[in-house]
């Protein structure tokens, strides 16, 4: 018996970069990825004396949209505050953020893990500006740092979850769901590798069945959903071991070492800052009218949960399948576009969840970067239906199409993969298989029906999957019984 004596309590803080055209408080382009350092800058985002912030309406709307999608409440009047701390990447010496009146609060989202659905509370979602980037260098025996201000002032949404998460898998699913929501809304790329989405997690353990929280450890700067899961798995194990041996957990900040798969202590919480928040006098309060929220809500695209429920209803899919098919914007688009051309949703669903997921997984190619198109899938399915190709060939062809971008028909024609149903063509292949496998023939004669399967496989192999399996089976039995 495993001694499951502790329960993890997990909460996430997620920073989402909003993909607005301009930065949060100035007209510099926010699309700085790949740009030379310090080329997306102006006096405002360089914090030159006398400059003032001017709020980007699009950023506010993106923030509100996200809050609406997360089922949040919005205050009638919101405001910005200054969060004071000195650091070279914080050009003004304070960050314009939101303290006691965030745009959004008290929301939730749902995640599906292993067939179970969980509701995770959202404490708040507030706007703040991103910092500059420090590049630490060493040269000629001295260490120095360079500053790239391109990121300074890019709008961020910080989304804080309730401590409702109970497993690393749920944490991963939460982050994936959050990414799906912001991508669906079009407010962020959600690209964690590029830092468009960053995550800190808080985790503590408590004896199962108790209510009081244990001592919390924060793991900072996790840059993928997988890292979140791995870091949490390690940290829960570490804390469990510590508690079992009577050690005390220290409230601290830890980092995750990706290579070694372990968390490492960075600093203890005693050094906590006093941020001296106070209302930002350079920006007027923002009034969030019901009309504004309603207008934003009405312009919102279909959200993942609604889409999932619609799939269950409209396409008569299982909830599990619907969750899978709505797990990314690209997948659900592919699914729906294919079904529009080929109205057999269950077959399409099987192909998407089977072949497409397998190939993407095996090759590590992102859906968006692959050659998967509804047309290719429909072509393959059509050739299957009219008997042009076998199921086995269909899989080969589709994989090829995904990798190369050639059309399935062209692949079939070029490589001569058309199904062989003509008995005369198959008689020879079958005879050869029988001749080459005397043991299997003996087994068959001894009454072992499985031997048929082996021999069929040999024929399929010899015909590179093109043989119609039904016809092969028929001929096999006839030849074996005749001899």
């Amino acid at each position: 018996m495993s001694k499951a004596t502790y329960e993890p309590v997990i909460g996430l803080e997620t920073h989402v970069q909003l993909q607005t055209q301009s930065k949060m408080f100035c007209s510099c382009s926010a699309a700085y990825a790949g740009a030379d350092p310090n080329t997306h800058v102006c006096p405002v985002c360089m914090a030159m004396p006398g400059t003032l912030p001017v709020m980007n309406r699009q950023a506010v709307e993106y923030a509100l949209l996200t809050g609406i999608a997360l089922n949040c409440e919005h205050p009638e009047a919101s405001k910005f505050d200054r969060k004071n701390y000195p650091y070279p990447d914080l050009v003004k010496g304070y960050q314009i953020s939101q303290y006691d009146l965030p745009f959004s609060a008290n929301g939730w989202l749902t995640v599906d893990v292993d067939g179970e659905s969980y509701r995770i509370g959202i404490t708040r979602a507030h706007m703040e500006e991103d910092t500059a980037k420090l590049l630490h260098r060493k040269g000629n025996g001295s260490a120095y740092s360079l500053i790239d201000l391109n990121r300074s002032g890019v709008p961020l949404l910080e989304i804080v979850s309730e401590p409702d998460i109970r497993s690393p898998a749920q944490a991963r699913a939460y982050l994936q769901k959050m990414r799906l929501i912001v991508q669906t809304l079009g407010v962020s790329t959600g690209n964690m590798e590029e830092g468009a989405m960053r995550c800190d997690v808080n985790v503590s353990l408590r004896p199962t069945g108790t209510q009081a929280f244990g001592v919390k450890v924060e793991i900072k700067n996790l840059n993928s959903a997988r890292s979140v899961q791995r870091a949490l798995e390690y940290e829960i194990e570490r804390q469990t071991r510590a508690l079992e041996t009577g050690e005390r957990i220290i409230q601290e900040t830890r980092g995750f070492d990706e290579d070694r798969g372990i968390t490492v202590s960075q600093r203890s919480k005693e050094e906590a800052h006093d941020y001296r928040y106070f209302p930002e006098p350079d920006l007027p309060p923002i009034f969030i009218s019901r009309e504004w929220v309603a207008e934003l809500r009405s312009g919102m695209p279909e959200l993942p949960d609604a889409k999932r429920d619609r799939y269950v209803q409209q396409f008569e899919l299982s909830r599990y399948d619907a969750v899978q098919l709505t797990s990314s914007v690209g997948i659900s688009n592919l699914f729906e576009q294919t079904v529009a051309l080929y109205p057999k949703p269950k077959i399409v669903a099987n192909w998407v969840q089977g072949e497409i997921f397998r190939v993407l997984n095996d090759t590590g190619i992102e859906l968006e970067a692959s050659h998967v198109t509804p047309d290719a899938l429909v072509e393959v399915l059509g050739m299957l239906d009219d008997g042009t190709i076998t199921q086995a060939v269909a899989k080969q062809v589709f994989e090829e199409a995904i990798k190369t971008g050639a059309t399935p028909k062209a692949i079939v024609a070029e490589r001569g993969l058309t199904q062989i149903s003509d008995a005369s063509e198959l008689e020879h292949a079958v005879a050869e298989a029988i001749a080459n496998a005397p043991q299997a023939v003996a087994d068959y004669r001894a009454g072992k029906q499985q031997a048929i399967g082996f021999l069929t496989g040999q024929v399929m192999k010899a015909t590179r999957g093109k043989a119609n399996p039904g016809t092969v089976n028929e001929i096999l039995r006839r030849q074996l019984d005749q001899a």
Binding site: G50, L52, V54, N84, P86, V91, G93, P281, D282
Partner: protein, 485 residues
């Protein structure tokens, strides 16, 4: 005929428009005045003579092409708190020595569009923190009426430049009295507009919820003209107000019949000089004679304004001044060993004592455990002070009071006693906290030194303020000019 430097802006514009003079001649006249007197007054940190001559040449060219503009060819001085593209801007602080902004403050752009000539950047208390211009990191400015006395502050350089006819007009900033008090102490007109009336973009921030830009001029109509040029909404300042800018100059010409003038008891404070009170009371009598209905009013929260101000303004300043960290621009202490070393030594060496005092006060007021007792409480009192004004303006169109409880005091008299210095602004601080427009107009001399009458109007009530000031000024008649050798 008067000499060129003696002309008001309106008179100079008449002369320019009639071809009686040129912008270049006017500019040379002011540069000559500066050459002659500024070594003793020390109003300017930086005289931009080349720029002034170039501006003037262009103004004359424009006029020759038949163009006109509200200030075409008028030489103006700017407090060194306004960012000027390509011209060093220091805020009279060592920490910004050598800083050359790559942009103009919105008011600088508006002056340039109106055809003004930039004479130079004037001295001030470092980061506008002070009431005597003695907190400048570089030098004190002297009062043209008595060179052993201060011109007031923080915009003392701009006030002294206008008083000594070393500029036709000037801009300053007023956070707690920094335009009105030096205007009073140097015998010129100074205006602090409604908070939000003039853009703060490019104005180096001291206390963001209080800072306002305003003009200095030799008479009320000139001040009205200057304010009309710089006022109005600015997309680069979210706190600037959208209301259209009325014709302030026209307002200065109206009479006072039926105007209700309130005199708040609390502004005639203990410690007020007798000569100041006499001059102010006489001015109030003049208003009555002009047909105004004058009455007393009580504003009970006035005594708390000073303490309130000295929590809110330093709190905001503590954040506003955090950016001077040696990383991006300005002064950096030599041979720093680390980031923290660079921060500590740069700021220790770059800021003067008054700036450090206020950063510490503000940091303290915002600290965990003190925030509610200090910052939040101060904001509540600020609301009460505003309510006092709201109530008073139910019964009165304007309020009048002394601008400063004293005339100009000797250099060094209050530098060792910060609280005594702070009390210099006791009559102007409440108006700033309420965000209201206030104007100081000279109302006579006391022992040979100017006294200022403060006129306060409701928010966006600048027209009424100018109306009262203009009518009073006409009735008062001309004042003597400073006895500069």
């Amino acid at each position: 005929m008067a000499e060129l430097h003696e002309l008001t802006i309106h008179q100079a514009l008449d002369a320019l428009r009639s071809g009686g003079t040129s912008a270049s001649a006017l500019t040379e006249a002011y540069l000559a005045r500066i050459e002659r007197y500024d070594s003793s007054v020390q109003a300017y940190l930086n005289v931009t003579a080349d720029r002034a001559r170039e501006d003037a040449r262009r103004a004359d060219e424009r006029r020759a092409h038949g163009e006109d503009a509200p200030l075409l060819g008028i030489p103006i001085a700017l407090k060194d708190i306004f960012c000027t593209n390509g011209v060093e801007t220091t805020c009279a602080s060592r920490i910004l020595k050598g800083f050359v902004p790559p942009y103009d403050a919105t008011v600088v752009t508006r002056l340039a569009d109106a055809g003004a000539v930039l004479l130079g950047k004037t001295n001030m208390d470092e980061f506008a923190m002070g009431s005597s211009t003695e907190n400048s990191a570089f030098m004190p400015t002297r009062n043209p009426w008595d060179l052993s006395r201060v011109p007031g502050g923080s915009s003392g350089g701009s006030a002294a430049a206008v008083a000594a006819s070393m500029a036709a007009g000037a801009l300053g900033t007023d956070t707690g009295g920094s335009i009105r008090q030096p205007a009073a102490l140097t015998g010129v007109v100074g205006v602090k507009p409604t908070y939000g009336r003039v853009s703060r973009y490019g104005v180096i921030a001291f206390a963001s919820s209080l800072d306002q830009v305003g003009p200095f001029a030799r008479d009320v109509a000139d001040a009205a003209l200057l304010l009309g040029v710089i006022a109005g909404q600015d997309p680069f300042d979210s706190t600037s107000l959208p209301e259209p800018v009325p014709d302030y100059v026209a307002a200065t010409k109206r009479d006072l019949r039926g105007v209700r003038v309130g005199v708040p008891d609390e502004y005639f404070v203990a410690g007020m000089e007798r000569g100041v009170e006499t001059a102010v009371r006489q001015a109030i009598d003049t208003l009555t004679e002009l047909g105004a209905e004058v009455g007393r009013v009580s504003m009970g929260h006035t005594p708390y304004a000073l303490a309130t101000y000295y929590l809110i303004a330093p709190a905001e300043a503590s954040a506003n001044l955090a950016r001077y960290d040696s990383v991006k621009y300005g002064y950096r202490a030599p041979d720093v060993k680390s980031t923290i070393d660079a921060y500590l030594r740069t700021r220790a060496e770059g800021f003067g004592p008054e700036v450090k005092r206020r950063i510490m006060l503000g940091t303290y007021a915002l600290s965990a455990g003190y925030y509610d007792a200090f910052y939040v409480k101060a904001q509540k009192v600020r609301t009460l002070i505003k309510a006092d004004f709201d109530n008073a303006f139910n019964d009165f169109d304007v309020l009048v009071a002394p601008t400063s409880p004293t005339v100009a005091f000797p250099l060094g008299a209050k530098t060792q006693d910060p609280l005594a210095m702070y009390l210099s602004d006791v009559c102007t601080l409440p108006v700033s906290l309420a965000g209201l427009p206030g104007l100081s107009v000279p109302c006579g001399l006391s022992d040979g030194l100017p006294v200022g009458l403060q006129i306060v109007a409701p928010a966006l009530g600048e027209e009424m303020m100018f109306r009262v000031a203009g009518a009073y000024e006409r009735a008062r008649g001309p004042l003597p000019t400073p006895p500069l050798a």
